[in-house]
């Protein structure tokens, strides 16, 4: 079972530049959450703060009863064993081949015999579809393969929490779809708490239980997927529909008068996508735990109602 992450009043700045302030949210245990936000709003910084790589100025992060912003270095390393993190480029060790990369955490933290290590590593490599690439060096493979290898490495210690830093950046749409399916299947199988940081709207609509949006140095909203997808908040609607009209501008933010004018121009001709997109469910081969069974049932009811409406 996953672990709940409780963030309270978190503020982070570099020098006198505030990245975000007063961020409070709770990532429910075992659920998939997505953190959205325009580029440069500090989504990756948020992720690094959650694992204690960066120290926030204010606020607390409680995981399994411990406030990780106040932990001593040594205890922090212990808590981090709960985490699996997929970095943007995989962050594989360049001097090791894929097999050694994925075996690395096992060899460092456990005293498992090499045969056991081999079994686990091959199982995880099979999970992410990398069988046959064991001997390849990270420099010799594509970005998508590096990501999947990074994911396999994040999985070997059976983490309670998995953080994904832009899993879909630099991948083609088909691979993104496969990766999303993989994330959903994983959640159904290992039941860990997932946090995905991304700016890919399509994934954010299909995959998570909860969505959060960072904008203008604040957490604009965090809540169940339905709540954000049907929200009337201008920033949320602009971002989820990927349009230019709204508070988010090219460089930073726009002034209020311009936003007003643009939104008025939209009225009537609102070509936004339908608010509710069907949710991505675990593939047929995966046994669904009760939580996912309930989600699937709810989706089926929704789908039926939509067909009836049409």
């Amino acid at each position: 079972m996953g672990v709940e992450i409780h963030v309270e009043g978190l503020t982070k700045s570099f020098g006198d530049q505030v990245i975000w302030q007063d961020v409070s949210l709770t990532l429910p245990a075992g659920e998939v959450s997505v953190m959205l936000g325009p580029s440069g709003t500090g989504k990756s910084v948020f992720l690094k703060t959650l694992v204690g790589l960066l120290k926030p100025e204010r606020g607390s992060i409680r995981i399994a009863g411990q406030d990780i912003t106040r932990l001593r270095e040594h205890d922090l390393y212990e808590v981090r064993k709960l985490f699996g993190v997929l970095f943007q480029d995989g962050a594989l060790f360049g001097s090791m081949n894929l097999y050694d990369n994925i075996a690395f955490p096992l060899r460092e933290h456990t005293r498992k015999p090499e045969s056991e290590v081999r079994r686990i590593v091959l199982e995880k490599m099979d999970m992410v579809g990398l069988i046959g690439a064991e001997e390849k060096l990270p420099g010799e493979i594509s970005g998508g393969m590096r990501k999947r290898a990074g994911l396999a490495r994040a999985l070997v210690l059976d983490p309670e929490i998995i953080l994904f830093d832009e899993p879909d950046s630099g991948l083609d749409p088909v691979r993104v779809a496969y990766l999303n399916q993989l994330i959903v299947d994983l959640n159904a199988q290992i039941d860990a708490t997932f946090l995905i940081v991304t700016h890919d709207i399509a994934s954010a609509r299909q995959v998570p239980d909860n969505i959060g949006l960072l904008f203008r140095r604040e957490l604009v909203m965090f809540g169940p997927r339905e709540q954000l997808l049907t929200s009337d908040e201008p920033v949320v609607r602009q971002f989820l529909n990927g349009r230019m009209q709204g508070p988010i501008g090219m460089a930073e933010e726009k002034d209020a008068a311009q936003v007003e004018q643009e939104l008025a121009g939209l009225d009537g001709g609102d070509e936004d996508q339908p608010a509710m997109t069907p949710r991505l469910l675990p593939s047929a081969g995966v046994t669904r735990p009760p939580r996912w069974q309930a989600i699937a049932d709810r989706e089926a009811v929704l789908r039926k109602r939509q067909v009836a409406d049409a």
Partner: protein
């Protein structure tokens, strides 16, 4: 790197903090034997040849200088004694330090810096592994070991080079040269030199690791880090050398 005075202070502070971390992490199990051997081999392989090639002319220059000086003073019988002393006490630790910092330290700094900007170090910390324990401690120990061994190599090559130039090229007397070997130098000179090499190795590796682990700003950042690590190491080494030498003369009674 910021140019403000507080920036310089902060950097020195974090450098010392890391040196303390290395000391504190030193006894922690499990000791990274594999990494230690790999790094020792690596540092040795990049330093042995340049060290040998540098120490031959270095020994020769000292022999030439001392040869002409002793002739001017009319003390040719002491030329052997003086050149052994010069090579053993000063020349070999300094040559060792320069090569350890210039060849070994830069390689360490570039390696760690590249890992840092590719987020490998972050990934390692997230996997619950302390980079100081896993990467820095074995490198520091390996560099110290190699520095001590190199110092021995430089001493031997330097003394042999001195002998060759003094006896063969300056027509000195082999007997007198060899006989005067131990009139001024003593065994404690060798120990002091080895101790210096040990300290120099530690400083070079710690500075290189610190600069590597704090590299930022892409590939250019790694280049800057390597550059700064060499400059800082050289400055620290020469200051340390002065202090160690001064202390040595105070606590070890000299011959003659």
């Amino acid at each position: 790197m910021s140019l403000s005075p507080t920036g310089a202070l902060r950097h020195s502070g974090s450098l010392f903090a890391m040196a303390l971390d290395v000391l504190r992490t030193l006894p922690r199990r499990p000791f990274q034997v594999r990494e230690f051997i790999q790094q020792a081999w690596f540092v040795a392989s990049v330093t042995i040849l340049p060290t040998a090639l540098v120490s031959i002319p270095f020994g020769a220059v000292i022999a030439l200088q001392i040869g002409s000086l002793t002739r001017q003073l009319g003390a040719q019988s002491f030329s052997g004694a003086a050149s052994v002393l010069a090579v053993l006490r000063e020349a070999s630790p300094i040559v060792t330090a320069l090569l350890i910092a210039g060849a070994g330290g830069t390689a360490i700094c570039a390696d760690l810096g590249a890992r840092k900007i590719r987020e490998e170090i972050d990934a390692m910390e997230v996997l619950g592994i302390d980079p100081i324990h896993r990467l820095v401690v074995p490198r520091v120990l390996a560099t110290m070991l190699v520095a001590v061994l190199l110092n021995g190599l430089v001493s031997v090559v330097g003394v042999a080079g001195g002998y060759f130039f003094n006896v063969v090229l300056q027509n000195g007397t082999p007997g007198a040269y060899l006989a005067s070997f131990t009139t001024l130098a003593q065994l404690s000179d060798l120990w002091a030199a080895e101790l210096k090499a040990l300290v120099f190795g530690a400083i070079a590796a710690i500075v290189a690791s610190y600069k590597g682990l704090t590299a930022k700003g892409g590939p250019k950042g790694v280049g800057d880090a390597v550059n700064q690590s060499v400059v800082i190491t050289f400055m620290l080494l020469f200051v340390t050398n002065f202090v160690l030498t001064a202390v040595y003369f105070q606590i070890v009674p000299q011959r003659g």
